[in-house]
């Protein structure tokens, strides 16, 4: 099928605005999937994705559609991961398209993610087709949606298609719009073969399978392909398309979206965004936009049961095979034993990996407080990256530390404005400007340190706005900040798992909370035990573990001696299992309990 009869597009939407439902309708309408096979939400494959209503891995699908002009078109629908953590992946999926359907829930209107995704699509020069979805809802407000389209997204409301994925309204209009409005595949005339890798998958039988969009030239089994980022070559063993199951075909032509099976053994070797060309006739210039993705958020993951260490290691290894953006290396902690330092694209990515370790690999884990990657500049030496407070050099040697920031767009009801401004302030953020979304909602554009949104920002946003607030963000620049390392000490001995890099002004408050929690959770002790938070040896907060009041057997006569001995023996053995920090025996789950909440 020629380029003129090919359209590549994707659907972008705020979560829950109906992307999955609509995708299923499109597959159904084009008979790509028989209706009975269509389990609800066909494109989101992983359980976890279903549960959270988000897409993590992209699953493209090819549909054949006979348009009103009686011609058959090949429509490639790219599914895009909808979350900011995967914004690079989103941008690569978008880069594989020429057009995008922008879904807006008719009852909700434009939300944070709608705006963010629309901007990404404009950035890729995609033809954006606005679709006002869920118009079957009684609460649908078409006027408002039209106004928001024009005011916020600067898209002419006349272009909007009215649809309902649920009731099957507007499906044909959408498919027609894709054919009519989305341009045919671009750059098809480039003299050599160029294909964009937008995802990859590890298959235990076939090795790495790369998902690609061919821009020019053809790729077929037997070709010797080359990755343009590093010149690595590999034989193509198979090519195919998604119908929606992987279906082997003889060759992939310009404009095609499909997969290739190669000899490459590690997903990390075929990176998303790389350009594939043919080794014998290589392209001169790669496709634009390739970037090395680096984890932004790090944390330690430890098995709850120390003998699950190997199991956890195996789980991480397997997850890594399918997810080149996830990094791990072994580390150990006095408080938590042996575990791994893990790097993630963002918070959601971190949560998802943790959840998959628990569910799919059945390992109970505990994670340390997440940390961002700081840029630390020692005097007279180049900047270094620090993702673990433990690795922060001596404060005296540091010229400055800078931290990553984000540009957030926060959509909230007007009446929570005061509280949200206070929250942003508390999180060391600043509001750049505010825009009115409609009579009841405003959009705040803020700059915040990434570190500050790691823990409870989203939860608090939701709770302040009673669930109506939403936020999306993109990474901003690094900015120098007055950051210090805070240690938590038990009787003067630091507890490594609780060291953190914090803003100087936040240190005392955070230190106090941690000291209080530890003092509360550590069981009463015979001896005075001080819990202290300190910056470079200077104590900024302290608390004492409760002193043990009574531990004495009332009756202890001849007949009780053996029993009593056994009891004391048991206590003694119990103590052996405890961690000794600052001469205090600490039950193994103390730190876990604190990290848990």
């Amino acid at each position: 099928m020629d380029v003129l009869h090919t359209r590549n597009f994707c659907i972008i939407a705020h979560v829950d605005h109906g992307k999955t439902t609509l995708s299923d309708r499109l597959l159904e309408y084009t008979n790509t999937v028989a209706q009975r096979v269509l389990t609800a939400q066909h494109l989101d494959a992983m359980d976890l994705e279903k549960e959270r209503g988000i897409t993590i891995k992209s699953h493209p699908v090819t549909m054949l559609y006979t348009a009103k002009d009686m011609q058959v078109y090949r429509l490639n629908l790219m599914d895009t991961p909808g979350h900011v953590d995967f914004s690079y992946e989103v941008s690569r999926s978008l880069a594989a398209c020429e057009g995008a359907l922008l879904l807006i829930d008719a009852a909700q209107g434009v939300e944070a993610q709608t705006v963010a995704n629309a901007h990404l699509a404009f950035g890729q020069n995609l033809k954006v087709i606005p679709v006002i979805n869920k118009i079957d809802l009684p609460s649908a407000n078409l006027e408002l949606c039209a106004k928001q389209l024009e005011d916020i997204l600067t898209i002419s409301a006349e272009e909007a298609i009215l649809a309902s994925g649920k009731s099957g309204i507007g499906i044909q209009d959408i498919l027609e719009a894709v054919v009519q409005r989305v341009p045919p595949p671009r750059w098809a005339d480039y003299p050599q073969t160029r294909a964009l890798v937008f995802d990859s998958l590890y298959d235990s039988y076939r090795g790495v399978i790369a998902y690609i969009r061919v821009f020019s030239g053809v790729i077929k089994a037997g070709d010797m392909m080359m990755l343009m980022s590093n010149g690595q070559k590999s034989e193509v063993k198979e090519v195919g398309v998604f119908m929606p199951k992987m279906t082997k075909i003889s060759l992939l032509e310009p404009g095609a979206v499909g997969y290739i099976v190669t000899n490459v053994k590690d997903t990390a070797d075929i990176k998303t965004g790389d350009t594939i060309t043919i080794a014998s006739k290589p392209a001169q210039d790669p496709l634009p936009g390739y970037k090395e993705v680096r984890p932004m958020v790090f944390c330690g993951l430890y098995p709850l049961e120390s003998n699950d260490y190997e199991k956890l290691k195996a789980a991480l290894g397997r997850l890594r095979l399918n997810d080149a953006a996830f990094l791990y290396s072994s580390e150990s902690s006095i408080a938590l034993g042996f575990g791994f330092r893990c790097g993630f694209l963002g918070l959601l990515h971190m949560e998802i990996i943790q959840e998959r370790i628990r569910r799919e690999h059945d390992v109970e884990i505990i994670s340390t407080y997440p940390s961002v990657v700081y840029h630390v500049k020692p005097h007279g030496k180049p900047e270094i990256d620090v993702d673990n407070p433990v690795n922060l050099p001596d404060p005296g040697t540091i010229e400055y530390i800078s931290e990553p920031t984000i540009k957030a767009s926060i959509h909230i009801p007007n009446d929570s404005m005061g509280d949200i401004l206070a929250l942003v302030m508390e999180k060391r953020g600043s509001v750049e400007h505010t825009d009115t979304l409609d009579a009841n909602r405003v959009m705040l554009s803020c700059v915040l340190p990434l570190n500050e949104i790691l823990v409870d920002f989203n939860d608090r946003l939701k709770s302040i706005t009673h669930g109506y607030g939403s936020m999306d963000y993109e990474l901003g620049a690094y900015s120098v900040s007055d950051l210090v390392k805070m240690d938590i000490m038990i009787n003067g001995d630091p507890v490594d798992a609780f060291s953190s890099i914090v803003h100087r002004e936040k240190a005392e408050g955070k230190g106090r909370v941690l000291c209080e929690k530890l003092a509360e959770i550590i069981p009463p002790q015979m001896f005075k035990v001080a819990i202290q938070a300190a910056i470079g040896g200077k104590v900024i907060a302290r608390d004492n573990v409760k002193e043990m009041r009574k531990d004495v057997t009332a009756k202890c006569y001849g007949g009780d001696i053996s029993r009593k001995r056994k009891l004391l023996d048991k206590q003694k053995e119990g103590k052996k299992k405890m961690k000794m920090i600052g001469k205090v025996n600490i039950p193994p789950d103390t730190f876990i309990q604190i990290l848990k909440n």
């Binding site: 009332a554 001696i561 004391l568 003694k572």
Partner: protein, 394 residues
């Protein structure tokens, strides 16, 4: 370790020797009680007494018996003739008059006839389980006696003129506040016993109270318990009763020698079901069942439970961890002479830590706990044990 075990066992002759008889009969089971006891029947008592005779015959000892203690159960439930019979079984083996002979009694079964029988066989000390004077609290414990019975029984005991009389009381009972406990203490003091044992209520597994606790019907309050301990100690000291162990108080000359000797890790021979012994190189207990015990005795067996060899290492450790419960403390110098190879350096380390924290002190070579330390005697014991094992394992 091997060095300590192979060290010659040093058991001087002049060592005191105790005899303990467990009389396993009670009229009913108290809600807090985990002792082995059963309902008395004529036949059961007869077989029990025969068993004691047979068991005594299995054990040989040559030195005179210093103290005798009949505990239970309720030894005071035995009929006067049975008391005489049990007395007659023991007497030939005592090597003279013991310094102290204690019998435990329950208020409901104290009669002049029984007391006369006890006097007759040479009993010197009566220990009566009063527990409380408040009817509601007694009821809550499942005790089968009344307040009036305590007074009547006490008067009878005094009339019979034993050398020493003890009352057992319990505190931290469900629903008992500090004032109620002081009221109980004061009523006991008004009787002017020679000795008082005050026990903080302990929730023993498999008792009715334990069930209540696990169902959340009663609650543990450690702080409250600690306060009651302190109240008790202050009140009794003011009344002239010197504390000599965590739960024991006596007027001068009335401390229970049998128990003191136990805590000093001397020897005693235990007879009867569930009775523990520490004698002739072994520690152990009899099986907690009348019929099984009888069967074992018939086969010439005893001490089938928790049997351990008494090595010097074990004895020194126990002399320490149980000794610190006593106000007199542990004579470290004497202990060191007895067991020179014990890990004394580690013990010294530990005692230094305890002293620094205000939990213990050493005076005249004796390790003594402070009142705060005494409330933590179990934790102290665990730490001392740890000090022992650490040194030995390195």
């Amino acid at each position: 370790m091997s060095e300590i075990i192979s060290a010659p066992q040093d058991t001087p002759y002049a060592e005191p020797l105790g005899v303990y008889v467990h009389v396993p009969f009670c009229a009913s089971t108290c809600d807090f009680c985990a002792f082995y006891q059963t309902t008395p029947t004529a036949d059961g008592v007869d077989r029990f007494l025969q068993g004691i005779a047979n068991e005594a015959a299995l054990v040989s000892w040559s030195r005179p018996v210093t103290t005798v203690f009949w505990g239970g159960g309720t030894p005071g439930l035995l009929a006067p003739d049975d008391i005489r019979r049990l007395g007659a079984i023991l007497q030939p083996r005592l090597g003279g008059r013991p310094v102290e002979w204690t019998v435990e009694m329950a208020p409901a079964s104290v009669t002049a006839a029984r007391l006369a029988a006890l006097k007759e066989i040479g009993v010197t000390r009566i220990s009566m389980g009063a527990q409380s004077f408040q009817p509601a609290l007694l009821d809550g414990l499942g005790r089968q006696h009344t307040r009036e019975q305590i007074f009547r029984a006490y008067e009878r005991i005094r009339t019979a003129d034993f050398a020493s009389v003890n009352l057992d009381l319990m505190f931290a009972l469900p629903g008992q506040d500090e004032a109620a406990w002081l009221a109980d203490l004061n009523e006991a003091l008004a009787l002017a016993p020679d000795h008082l044992s005050t026990y903080c209520l302990t929730f023993e597994e498999d008792t009715k109270l334990w069930v209540k606790l696990s169902k959340g019907q009663v609650k543990l309050d450690v702080e409250h318990e600690a306060r009651l301990y302190e109240t008790t100690w202050a009140r009794l000291e003011a009344a002239g009763y010197a504390q000599y162990e965590v739960s024991n108080f006596a007027r001068p000359g009335h401390a229970c020698l049998h128990n003191l000797n136990t805590w000093r890790m001397h020897e005693w021979i235990g007879l009867g079901p569930s009775a523990a012994s520490q004698h002739a190189g072994w520690r152990g207990a009899n099986v907690s069942d009348l019929d099984q015990w009888l069967a074992q005795i018939t086969r010439g067996e005893r001490l089938s439970e928790d049997r351990v060899a008494l090595t010097p290492a074990l004895l020194v450790e126990d002399a320490l961890i149980f000794g610190v419960r006593m106000n007199a403390g542990v004579d470290l110098a004497a202990l060191r002479r007895r067991f020179p190879r014990a890990p004394w350096a580690a013990v010294a380390n530990e005692t230094a830590l305890l002293t620094e924290a205000g939990l213990a002190g050493i005076t005249d070579g004796c390790l003594r706990l402070t009142p705060r330390g005494r409330l933590l005697a179990d934790s102290v014991g665990t730490r001392l044990m740890q000090a022992f094992s650490e040194e030995i394992s390195t």
